[in-house]
Each structure stands twice: as structure tokens, then as C-alpha cells.
């Protein structure tokens, strides 16, 4: 490769991949996915398969808009959404843990119910169909971080985002601390790994799981807040667009670790950003770009699982060899 081609490649890379706008876009698009991933994480670590994240995000988005509209304050929107997440998480936990409803059936029902209920509420409360936007909905203002914002390249990338983005970073750190540095986190992991042993140790399994599901509701509702108030101040029917499920996938790639979830969500945001950048080029029809996150999720899940299978087989082969050697 001669210098010219390299320069051209670098130019293409910089124009389409590594520039400030793309990195900003990556952080933005990654945020709801990261929050959905935390929602999946906290329940999966407690040994619960919570597939209702999608519906919880949708409710969160709706209540964020409603709270912001009626109280004309973004904070009220955030609080209303978090409350809705806790309440729906609580009801979900009550039905599936206490009343023994099948948790997957319950999750499917909540997801479908959320779509119908939010459309219904938008029409009844706001009298609008399809989408609801109003000047009275106060959005979340971007926040400039004092010193960082003046650093040349990093400044524009890291500073000037909505508060939910920073909150997500903090929550990722807090979740790590919670899981590994607090007795509650230890209990939660114990419940997830072996509920019977945890119970024998005197841990109240149901209470821990109840708390985990409610926390997952709050995480999901924050993802909803970001979708509804982050950039455009509006609610659109089905605006969660599968992010609850992508969050579950991200939790799988991340190995159930908060930091892993965060990094995989960044990867995800990156793919998404590149897609939107390509759209501006009009190379391929927009539908294929819209498909990208879902195709990427499927491909990544496949690749990840294949890799894990291979690693497991290799480990198995190794241990077999070891045994044979011992026998010798």
C-alpha cells in the first residue's frame, strides 16, 4: 500500500468513523441501550428472566412526557417516569413472584399491553394519535462540564450531553459498587446463583428479587426518559423500538457485568451511528439502515455464542487431556 492510499483510507476513516460528531452520536445512541442493559442485568443477576424491559421503557417515556407536560418541568418528568418504572416493576414482581404468574408470559403480556396502553393514554389524555409533541413539554438541557469542555477533542465529545447520559455513567459505576462492595449486592448475586443456598443462609429471596425487579423498572424508565426528553420532546407510539430486547442482548455480551454492558452498548451505539452517517450518503435505501441495529444484535449474539461454545469445548478438551495424563 502506498502512502496515497493510506492517506485516503485515513481520510475516509476520519470522515465517516472517528470524528467528534460520530463519537457524540455513539454516546447518545448507546445511552438508552446501556440503561436497558442495566435493567436486564440487575434482574438476570438475581436469577430472573425479565423480558418486560421493553414495556417498562415505553411506559417510562410516556410518563416522562406526561410529567414534564403537566408540571412544566423536566425534573417532574424524570420523577414521574421513575415512579412509573418502580410501580410497574413492583406490579410485575407482585404478579410473577407472589401470585406465581409465569414470568415470561407476564413479560410478553406487559410488553404488548404497554403498546396498547400508551397509545390509548396518548389519545385519551392528550387527544393526539401517533405522536404527541407540545411546547409545554420541557426537555432535558445539555450540561457543560466546567474543565473538560475546554479540552480540544475530548471536550465536545464528553461535555454538553443531557443529564441522563452522565447519570447512566454514574449508574454503571454505582451498580458495580453495589454488586461487589455491598452486602445487598452479595445477597443479590447469591440469590441469582443459587436461590436455595441463599435461602438456607437466611436471605429473603423473594424480597431481594422484588427489589431487583423494581430497580430494573427504574433503569428501564430512565431509558424511556432519555428517548422522550433527551433530544426531541415528544412521545411517539412504540418509540422504545425493541431497545428492551437489545438491552437483554447487550447484557449477554457484557457477561452480566455493568462495565461489560456499558462497553457493549457503546459498540452498539457505534454501529448505529455509522448507519445514520451512511444514510446521509444515500448509498443504500434507508430501510436497510433502520434494520441495522436488529441485524447487528442477531449477528453479535450468534458470534458471541459461537465464541463461547468454542471456548467451552476447548476448556473441556483441555481438562480431558489433563485427566488422561494423570491416569498415565
Amino acid at each position: 500500500m502506498d502512502a496515497d492510499t493510506v492517506a485516503q483510507l485515513l481520510d475516509i476513516l476520519q470522515r465517516y468513523v472517528f470524528n467528534v460528531a460520530n463519537l457524540q452520536g455513539m454516546l447518545r445512541l448507546a445511552t438508552p441501550v446501556a440503561l436497558a442493559g442495566l435493567c436486564a442485568l440487575i434482574t438476570s443477576r438475581a436469577g430472573i428472566l425479565n423480558i418486560a424491559g421493553e414495556g417498562m421503557i415505553l411506559f417510562g417515556a410516556w410518563f416522562a412526557v406526561a410529567g414534564s407536560y403537566f408540571f412544566e418541568s423536566a425534573l417532574a418528568g424524570v420523577l414521574a417516569a421513575m415512579l412509573s418504572g418502580a410501580v410497574i416493576g413492583g406490579l410485575f414482581a407482585l404478579f410473577s413472584l407472589r401470585f406465581r404468574a409465569h414470568i415470561i408470559i407476564m413479560g410478553i403480556a406487559i410488553n404488548i399491553f404497554a403498546v396498547a396502553a400508551t397509545i390509548f393514554m396518548t389519545r385519551v389524555v392528550f387527544g393526539q394519535a401517533g405522536a404527541f409533541a407540545d411546547p409545554r413539554i420541557v426537555g432535558l438541557h445539555p450540561i457543560d462540564i466546567p474543565i473538560i469542555k475546554d479540552i480540544p477533542f475530548l471536550g465536545p465529545v464528553l461535555s454538553g450531553h443531557s443529564i441522563i447520559i452522565y447519570l447512566t455513567w454514574i449508574l454503571v459505576a454505582l451498580t458495580t459498587v453495589f454488586l461487589y462492595r455491598t452486602p445487598w449486592g452479595l445477597h443479590l448475586r447469591a440469590v441469582g446463583e443459587n436461590p436455595h443456598a441463599a435461602e438456607a443462609l437466611g436471605i429473603n429471596v423473594e424480597r431481594i428479587r422484588f427489589g431487583a425487579v423494581m430497580a430494573s423498572g427504574v433503569f428501564a424508565s430512565l431509558a424511556g426518559v432519555y428517548l422522550a426528553l433527551g433530544h426531541l420532546q415528544m412521545f411517539t407510539d412504540q418509540m422504545s423500538a425493541g431497545r428492551g430486547f437489545i438491552g437483554m442482548a447487550v447484557n449477554t455480551f457484557g457477561g452480566g457485568e455493568p462495565i461489560g454492558v456499558f462497553l457493549s452498548s457503546l459498540l452498539f451505539g457505534f454501529v448505529d451511528t455509522i448507519g445514520w452517517r451512511l444514510q446521509g450518503e444515500r448509498l443504500i435505501p434507508v430501510y436497510f439502515i433502520s434494520m441495522l441495529p436488529y441485524v447487528a444484535t442477531l449477528l453479535a449474539l450468534t458470534a458471541f455464542t459461537l465464541h463461547r461454545e468454542r471456548a467451552r469445548k476447548a476448556a473441556l478438551a483441555n481438562s480431558n487431556n489433563g485427566e488422561e495424563q494423570q491416569e498415565d
Binding site: 410478553i108 399491553f113 389519545r123 425493541g242 437483554m248 430501510y287
Partner: protein, 385 residues
Amino acid sequence: MSNTDKSSTQASQSGVLATLQRSLRGILQGSVSILLSILAAMVVGSIIMAWHGQNPLEIYGLLFKGAFGSQRSIFISIQRATPLVFTAIASTLAFRTGVFNVGVEGQFFIGAICGTFVGYAFKLPLIIHLPLTLLVGFLGGALWAYFPTIMRQRLGISEIITTIMTNYIATFLISYLTNYPMRDTLTTPETPPVHESARLVQFVELNENLGKGSQAHVGIFIALAVVAAMYFIFKYTKLGYEWRMVGISFPFSEFGGMDLDRTFISGMLVSGGIAGLGGIVEILGVWREYKNLFAIGFGFRGNLAALLGGQTILGSTVAALFYGSMEAGALGLEWAAGVPRQLIDVIVGLIIFFMAAPGMWAFVRRIRWARPSEEVRRTTKELEV
């Protein structure tokens, strides 16, 4: 007290009577909890309506009138229920095989678009064209179910995530197809109309007085044939037995010598196929061309209907017919009283929440009709003897 004493002595005298009594009580308790669930959901619905400033009784009256009030409304109910029967049966089959196929929605769309292509692209005599179109619809749905199935079978990836992802991919793929390669006119994204020879006849085309003002079509008979076939397969064939057993217990089925892969994959593919068949039947009967995103939500409503019907073939069919007619009623309600038609989805969702929680009714029974303690002691003694 004396009454229960008597019945318990009788029960101990005759084992048959006891069994009968137990099963009767089971059925009664089952239907009581379904009825209670419906009632509870209707009460919640009433509260919503009252809060919205409407008289719940009047709204429910309009709902039932819209569903069953006239010949026309009955035919609209049939029209709305037809695709739901397919998607409900597809969901039931998958759920019973132990697969949470929430991709019925996407399989419905893909079946519809594949069939539509055969419907407009080829000119064939009716006797070949119609069955071929239906078959391609079935195969399209099955193909779309194939990827998630293989991902779960080979790699153990949760079908819930993959089927949802394939739903989104299906909608964008179809948007592309109807906007570019299959587009007929410049004005709207839709395919050319399906040839006469591939259409399913609407009742109103047979006889002007039959279902005037509706688009109900003979596809309902195909739906009922699928129900009958599935009922037969589930109840009387080896394949149906294997499907049910795999859903109940994997280890047991394997121990029983079943080919798990084949059973599982065939169950999922047939489920997708039935969903696809539903899609193409809806196109051939009602729309006669593929309008982009012509009918969102039939798949998900089918999922709900399967849950509502307790995941049995007959139960799901009844639930789908009920759901379809309630939807027809809700459409009428929207025109008459301005109540959003999603009301019915909300109420059905609530019914499922209440139904899905057997523990809740046990909980309610415990608080309100606590059994006297001596009765409990007596049953324990019976068990010990």
C-alpha cells in the same frame, strides 16, 4: 357444614365420585377464575371510562352492539377474527412446544408478502394459483421462523430476543420491498393487485345481502380447517403428542426416545407457517394487494389470544373469535363514542394479567373465604388413611 360432611362421606365411599367431584371442582374453579379475571378487567376498564367522563354500561353496551348487534357487525367480527385465529393457533402451537414465539407478527408479514408476490406475478388457473399462493404464504412464514429456531436449537440463544429482532427486520424488509422492487404506482408504496384467480371470495361477492358493508371472506373456513387439523394432530397423532411432551419436559421426552431436534424444529416451523398462512389469507381475502404495513398487531394480538385461551387449540380459537369480535365492537365504539379502539387491547391485557396469576385468586380466596380449621384437619386424616 353438614352439607360438606355428607359430600365428603360420599367421596370416601366411592372413588369415582371423588374423582368426578374433584374434576368438577377443578373446572368450576378454572372457569370461576377466568370469569373473575374478565370481571376484574371490566371493572378496571369501567373506572378508566368513568374517569374519562363516560358511562361504562353504555360503552360496554355499544361494544357488544358493535360486535354482535346486526348482521353487518357479525360479519365484521368474522373479518377481524379470521387472521387472529391463525396467529392464535400459531402462538399456541409454539407455546405448547415450549417456545415463546413472539415473532408471529413478522412471520405473518413475510407470509403475506411472499404469497402476494406469487399472487400478482404469475398468471395461472384458479385451481393451481390459489393453493400455490397459500402454500407460498405458509412457506414464507416457516422460513422466517427458521432463523430463530436454528439459533435456539444450535446455539441456545433465547428465541424471545431473536424473534423480536426478526419482527423488526421483517417490517423494514417489507417497507423496502413495497417501496422499491415490488412497487406498482408512484403515489403509494403498495404492490400490484393480486390476480382474480388467487383471491379468496368475500361473502358479499357471493350474495349481495350476505355481510353487506363488511369484507368478511371465506378465509374463515381455512382458519377453521387449520383449527380442526391442529386439534386432530395435537390429540391423535404421534407428532402432536411429541410436541406437547417436548413443551412439558425436555428430559422426559429425550428419555422417551423422541428426536428432540426434529420435534422442536417442526413445531416452530409449522407455527411460523400457520402465521404466514394467516398473513396471505388476510391479503387474498381483504386487501388483495400488499399495502405497506397493512395490518400491524395481528401477530401480537394472536399471542395474547393464545394466552387468553389457556394455550389450548380450542381455547385459543374461542379467544381469537372473542378478541376479533370485541375489536369489531371497539371499531364501532370509536366511530360512535370517540373512545379509542385500543381500549379493548387494554382490557384484554388486564384479563391476561389477572388470569396469568393463579396465586392471586388463591390469595383472594384465602382472605375472604377462609376455611374452618377442622375441615382442613379432616382432609389431612383422609390422606393418612
